[in-house]
Amino acid sequence: VVSMPKRLCGRRNRIFKCCAVLGAFFFILGAAPQPAFAVSEVYQAGYYLQYGCCNAHLDGISADVEVTNVDPADHMCLIWSVLGYTSQGTANLNDDVQLETGDVECGIATSLDGSCSNQNSARIRFVEQYHLQSYVCFPHGHFSIGVADTFSVRRTSTTTTIWNAYIDGTQYEGQNAFDTDNIQIHGWGEATWAQGYTKACGSNWGGTGGLSSLRRYNVDGGWHDINTATEETGCFDVSPLTNNAFTVWHTP
């Protein structure tokens, strides 16, 4: 307000009034709920690899996922999963694709994409595709506390742009348009809220999930244990990556 250009405030005897109005405007603007531009929409914590890391193409990721406790708040979902992601940059967001599979439990007031973990905080094994800037989720049965399922996403030949999702060896949905080079693979826990923007991690929820037998896939070279990867943190605690296994948890 102090540095407001004179032309906005007019004559000297109007300065106070004009600047007060403008000040109020910007105060209201700042106080109103604002879109979460440049803010991560979910908290994600775990490990990832990206193209160039391993002297080989990244063609997939696999992990045994075991959730040992999960207690989401009403308006959030908790996820432990693996995924592959490719981006062509920001020139055309329609080109970004992702394929994710894992365990999800949402609170009673929300769901994942509208079809996964809808009712009674169901514990769901899911596959989620992302393409054309849209998500779509498919449920594939329930997971049990303390029981590991093997989740993987991968391509099966060097000539295909399709990655497929597998749960305990059974093939489910696929996703096309994956790049050959520009690939990231992640194994992580996610906390995603559905009740407005918040920076707060929150203390009204908790959960623990372990990812073991974490492996990357290369069409030519097969599966390789992941014992070195980049850690990503946010809200959760993440244990060190040891013997290609780690744990992601949050304590209320």
Binding site: A32, P33, Q34, P35, A36, V39, E41, V42, H75, I79, N94, G102, C106, A109, T110, S111, L112, D113, G114, S115, C116, N118, Q119, A122, I124, F126, V127, E128, Q129, H131, L132, Q133, S134, Y135, V136, C137, F138, P139, H140, G141, S157, T159, T160, T161, I162, N164, G169, T170, Q171, Y172, E173, G174, N176, A177, T192, W193, A194, Q195, G196, T198
Partner: protein, 288 residues
């Protein structure tokens, strides 16, 4: 992007359940040869009986069983025929010799990809898939087992196409949704719900792929009206237990430009979500 999707070899066959050597080529709407583009998805065998979801919370004794052609016809009669261009059921050519199960091919029309423009078209494809699978499936099975795979092709007015991944969640057959007794009542209820949220109803339609499916477009006078409430609005429109086998909810800003689209088909188990970039959490949606 539109032109670079390659022709794909089939990838899924080794995990498919040995299936009856049923070879059906039910073609509706003048569909010719199976699309030769990218195969999108498939569903696997050996699910446990308890793995399927019942969104409706209730089951009908049974729906009338139908042959593929009749099932497609009934589904198409209840959806937007200007959007669903072609539907056919056929064994993929590359797997015909191995006796694989049928795939469902759906071609839909979309005006553009901007602002999540494909979502409505893919929802219409989901409605057809869910209805057709329900009519063809057994009364006690898993709807994901009806088709070996799903393939969507999105066509645009300029003649270009985009392949998009289909899928099928593990959903029980014969779900009975607790629909209103008339479309007028359903429309009035949706109208009231939108106004309760401070929204201005624009379009409300009821489709009938099998039971009712709700289509809603509403204007958001100011974004703060809907902050954090999109998921709650969807739940209110759906009711508890669910009244609809499918729901499409589109919110536009005061210029008529979409800010969010949600669509679900609860016979397919597909929940779709597009939110204008940067508004996802602020509006109140959850995704992976």
């Amino acid at each position: 992007m539109l032109a670079r999707l390659p022709i794909m070899p089939s990838l899924y066959g080794i995990l498919r359940k040995a299936a009856p050597a049923l070879v059906v080529a039910a073609s509706i709407g003048g569909c010719s040869a199976p699309h030769s583009g990218t195969p999108m998805t498939s569903q696997g065998p050996d699910r446990s009986p308890s793995s399927e979801i019942n969104y409706a919370g209730a089951r009908a004794d049974r729906y009338d069983r139908a042959a593929p052609g009749a099932a497609i016809s009934r589904a198409l009669a209840g959806v937007d025929r200007a959007t669903v261009l072609k539907v056919r059921i056929a064994v993929r050519p590359s797997q015909a010799d191995s006796g694989q199960r049928n795939w469902l091919y759906v071609r839909v029309l979309a005006r553009s990809l901007s602002y999540g423009g494909s979502l409505y078209s893919l929802w219409q494809a989901d409605l057809v898939q869910g209805s057709t699978a329900e009519q063809m499936g057994s009364s006690t099975g898993n709807l994901a087992d009806v088709f070996a795979g799903i393939e969507h092709v999105i066509s645009f007015p300029n003649g270009s196409t985009v392949n998009d991944a289909g899928g099928a969640g593990d959903v029980v057959t014969s779900q009975l949704f607790h629909s209103f007794t008339s479309d007028a009542l359903a429309t009035a209820a949706a109208n009231d719900t939108l106004r309760d949220f401070g929204l201005i109803p624009d379009q409300i339609r009821i489709f009938h792929p099998l039971q009712a499916a709700l289509y809603v477009v509403a204007k958001v006078p100011t974004l703060s009206k809907i902050a954090g409430k999109l998921e709650i609005l969807r739940q209110r429109l759906l009711g508890n237990p669910f009244r609809y086998e499918g729901i499409y909810l589109q919110l536009n800003d005061d210029h008529g430009v979409p800010i969010a689209r949600e669509a679900a088909d609860y016979r397919v188990g597909a929940g779709r979500l597009w939110v204008r970039h940067g508004l996802g959490v602020w509006l109140g949606t959850a995704h992976g």
